[in-house]
Amino acid sequence: MSYYRNAFIGEALGLVLALALSMGTSRWQQLQRRTLLETGQQATQLAHAKMLAEEKLEKMEREGQELLTFEKAWDAFRRPAPANDLGNHLRNKLATLATQAGLTSEGTTVAAEAKNYPVGGATIRIQEVSINVTSESLPALLTWLGEVEGQFPYARVESLSLTSYASHSVQLGITLYHPVEQGERFSQIQQSLPDVARK
C-alpha cells in the first residue's frame, strides 16, 4: 500500500485541484454571466438614452425650424466683422456713405467697447456708434439714413435727432446700436467667410 501512497496522494490532490478548478471556473462563468447581463442592460439603457437624445434633438430641430428659417432668410444680410473692429468698421462706413451722399459728417464717436443690451429676457452684446451729418438737403439726409439702414439691417437707430439751423442747413444725428455676434458658431461663420467679412 505504501508503494502507492504517492499515487494516492497525487490522485487525491488532482481530484481536489480539479474540483477547485471546476468551482473556480464555475464562479468565473457566473461572474461572466452577471457581467454579460449588466453590460447588456447598460447597452440597452444607453441605446434608450441615445434614442431619447436623438428624439430630443429632432424635437429641438422641429421646434426651432421657425428660427432656422429666420436665420436662413437673414443670413444674406449678414455683414459680420470682427467684434473689436466693428465700431471702426461702422464709423468708417457711415462716414463713407455720408461723403458719397455729399453730406458733412462730424462728431463721430465709437464706444470703447461693446456693452450688454437686454433683449427679451436675454442680453446681447452691442457696439454703439454715433455720428452727426449735416446738409442743406433734407432728402439727402433721409436718403443717407435709408442707405445706412440698408447697409446695416441689424443696426438699430437707438436715437435720432433732426435739427434745422438758421443757415438753412439741417443736422441729422444718429446713434446706432449694432449687435456683436460672438460664440463658436459665429467664429466658424467668420472663418468660413473671411472674404465676405472683408467685403
Binding site: 500500500m1 502507492y4 490522485e11 468565473w28 444607453l46 432656422l68 427679451g120 439714413l145 460664440g183
Partner: protein, 482 residues
C-alpha cells in the same frame, strides 16, 4: 517522478490489484494468475529437467510435460535450452535438488516477524540462531517452523551456487520468481497443513524428492535436536539414497520411537523398509506440486525483498471513480472556461455597443447643445430684429404729415433700452389749428405704419421762436415678423 507515474499507471491499468510477480510473500499461483512460469529443476553442477506451468485466472496450475535437460551447467547446450524456455515464459523458478544442507534449530523463524519475507531475511542474518556446522558459513538459509512448537528445520544452499544459478537464468532472459529446495518445499507444505489443523507431527518424517532425501526425527512431537535427529542425503546416486534411508531409519528411528514413520514425496521401494517391521505411512506428493503450492513460501533468492502488495480489487472502483470525477471536473472546467471566454466576447461586444451608444448619445447631446446655443443666438437676433424699426420711414412719414402752414423742428427719437418703445419728441410751429391738423395726420400715419401712441405728454411751449409747441409722445414700435 517516474516511480510516481509508473505507480499511478499501475493503479489505472489494474496491475496494482494483482500481486507483484516477484513478491515472495505470496504463492506462485497468486503471483502468476493467467501467466506461466518455467520450473528449472536441478542444481549443483547439472540441471535435470525443466517444466512449464500455466496458471489460470483462479491460480490453478496446469503442468506441461517435464522436459529432460541433462546438461552440464554453463554448457552452450544448457544456455540454449534456457534461452528457448525464456522465450516461452519470462519467469523462472529454480528448484534445487542437489547441494543443499539441513539441520534443526530450537528457534522458529516466526519468532522474528509475522511477515514471511522479513522472517526469511532475518533467518539469513541470524546465523547464531540458525547456524550449525553442517551448514556452510555463506549458506543462504531458510527455516521451516514446527507447526505448534518452537524449533525449525533449517536448510541452506551456498550463496555462490545461488548466485551462479540466478546469473545463468537471468543471462538467458529469465526473471527469477523464486529459488526453492524441492525436499524442503514438500516438508513445508506438510508442516503448514498441520499448522492449519493445529496439529503436531507424531512420527518421524522422511522427505524424498526423487533425488535427495531429508530425515526429520520427531521426539515428543517436537523436532529431535539431538545428533542425527535431522540428516539429509544429497549428491548421491538415487539407489544409494534409498539404501541410506533404509539404514538410517532402521538404525535411528526404530530405537527412539516405536518404528512409526511418514514418508513424504515420491514413491520409492518402501516395501523393503516395511519388511523391517517398521510402521510406515506414505503420503505421495510430487515435488513440482509442492513447489507451487499455496502453503510453500520459502525462497532463497539473493535479492529477496518485500514487494508491494496487491491492492484490494474493490479499491479499483474508487480509484477509477476518482479519476473519472477528476476527468469530469476537468472537462466541466474546460467547458466552463470555453463558455466564459465566449461570454467575454459577448461582454466585449456589449461594451463596444454601449461605447457606441454612449458616443452617439454624447454626439446627439453635443449637437443638441450646439443647436440650442445656435437657436438661442438666433432667437436673440430675432428678438432684436423684431424690436427694430425703420427710422428713415418714420422720419419721412412724420415730415410728410406736417402741412405746409406748419414747421417741424427739433425732431428727436429716443428708443427705450430693452423695450419696443421710443420717446418721440418734436416741436411744431404754426397756427394752433394747423398744428392740430398736422398732429392728427402724424398720428394717422404712425398708426398706418403700425406704431401706436402709448402716452402723450402735455404740450409745452417752446422757448425762443414764437408759437412753437413741444410735443412728446411715447410710441410703441411695430413688431416685425421673424
Amino acid at each position: 517522478m517516474s516511480l510516481f507515474l509508473s505507480s499511478f499507471l499501475e493503479l489505472l491499468n489494474g496491475r496494482a490489484y494483482a500481486p507483484h510477480a516477484g513478491d515472495a510473500a505470496l504463492s506462485l499461483g497468486r503471483r502468476f494468475e493467467g501467466e506461466s512460469v518455467v520450473v528449472i529443476g536441478g542444481g549443483g553442477t547439472a540441471i535435470g529437467w525443466t517444466q512449464q506451468i500455466e496458471f489460470d485466472r483462479t491460480g490453478t496450475a496446469k503442468f506441461s510435460r517435464p522436459r529432460s535437460a541433462s546438461f552440464k551447467r554453463g554448457s552452450p547446450e544448457w544456455r540454449e535450452h534456457l534461452a528457448q524456455n525464456a522465450l516461452v515464459s519470462g519467469w523462472a523458478v529454480l528448484l534445487i535438488e542437489q547441494q543443499w544442507q539441513a539441520t534443526a534449530s530450537p528457534v522458529s523463524g516466526a519468532s522474528f516477524s509475522a511477515s514471511a519475507v522479513e522472517q526469511m531475511l532475518r533467518v539469513r542474518e541470524a546465523i547464531a540462531d540458525f547456524g550449525d556446522d553442517r551448514l556452510s558459513e555463506d549458506a543462504v538459509r531458510v527455516a521451516i517452523d514446527h507447526p505448534t512448537m518452537d524449533g525449525s528445520i533449517v536448510a541452506g544452499v551456498r550463496a555462490a551456487i545461488i548466485d551462479s544459478l540466478e546469473r545463468e537464468a537471468m543471462e538467458a532472459g529469465f526473471q527469477i520468481a523464486g529459488i526453492r529446495i524441492a525436499a524442503i518445499a514438500i516438508l513445508e507444505k506438510f508442516l503448514t497443513q498441520l499448522q492449519r489443523q493445529r496439529l503436531s507431527p507424531n512420527r518421524s518424517l522422511v522427505v524424498f524428492d526423487g533425488q535427495t532425501a531429508l530425515l526429520v526425527g520427531i521426539k515428543d512431537s517436537a523436532f529431535d535436536q539431538n545428533e542425527g535427529g535431522v540428516s539429509y542425503l544429497v549428491n548421491r546416486p538415487v539407489g544409494e539414497v534409498h539404501t541410506q534411508i533404509f539404514k538410517r531409519a532402521a538404525a535411528h528411528f526404530t530405537k527412539e520411537k516405536d518404528g512409526a514413520m511418514l514418508i513424504l514425496g515420491q514413491r520409492f521401494a518402501w516395501e523393503t523398509l516395511k519388511t523391517e517391521a517398521l510402521n510406515i505411512d506414505f503420503q505421495s506428493s510430487e515435488s513440482i506440486e509442492a513447489v507451487i503450492d499455496d502453503m510453500v513460501r520459502h525462497d532463497l533468492r539473493s535479492d529477496l525483498q518485500e514487494m508491494r502488495s496487491a491492492l484490494p480489487r474493490k479499491l479499483r472502483t474508487f480509484i477509477w471513480a476518482g479519476v473519472a470525477i477528476t476527468g469530469l471536473s476537468l472537462a466541466v472546467s474546460a467547458c466552463q472556461i470555453f463558455s466564459a471566454i465566449s461570454l467575454e466576447e459577448k461582454i466585449t461586444a456589449h461594451r463596444l455597443e454601449a461605447f457606441h451608444y454612449r458616443n452617439s448619445e454624447n454626439a446627439a447631446d453635443q449637437h443638441g447643445a450646439d443647436l440650442q446655443r445656435e437657436l438661442d443666438d438666433i432667437r436673440r437676433c430675432s428678438e432684436w430684429v423684431q424690436r427694430n424699426y425703420h427710422a428713415q420711414q418714420l422720419v419721412q412719414e412724420l415730415l410728410n404729415a406736417v402741412p405746409n402752414e406748419v414747421a417741424l423742428d427739433g425732431l428727436h427719437v429716443q428708443a427705450m433700452e430693452g423695450l419696443s418703445q421710443a420717446k418721440l419728441k418734436f416741436t411744431l410751429y404754426g397756427a394752433e389749428e394747423a398744428q392740430r391738423a398736422g398732429l392728427r395726420e402724424m398720428e394717422a400715419r404712425l398708426y398706418h405704419l403700425g406704431y401706436e401712441i402709448g402716452r402723450r405728454d402735455d404740450p409745452v411751449a417752446a422757448s425762443g421762436r414764437r408759437g412753437g409747441v413741444i410735443y412728446a409722445w411715447d410710441v410703441i414700435l411695430p413688431t416685425f415678423g421673424a
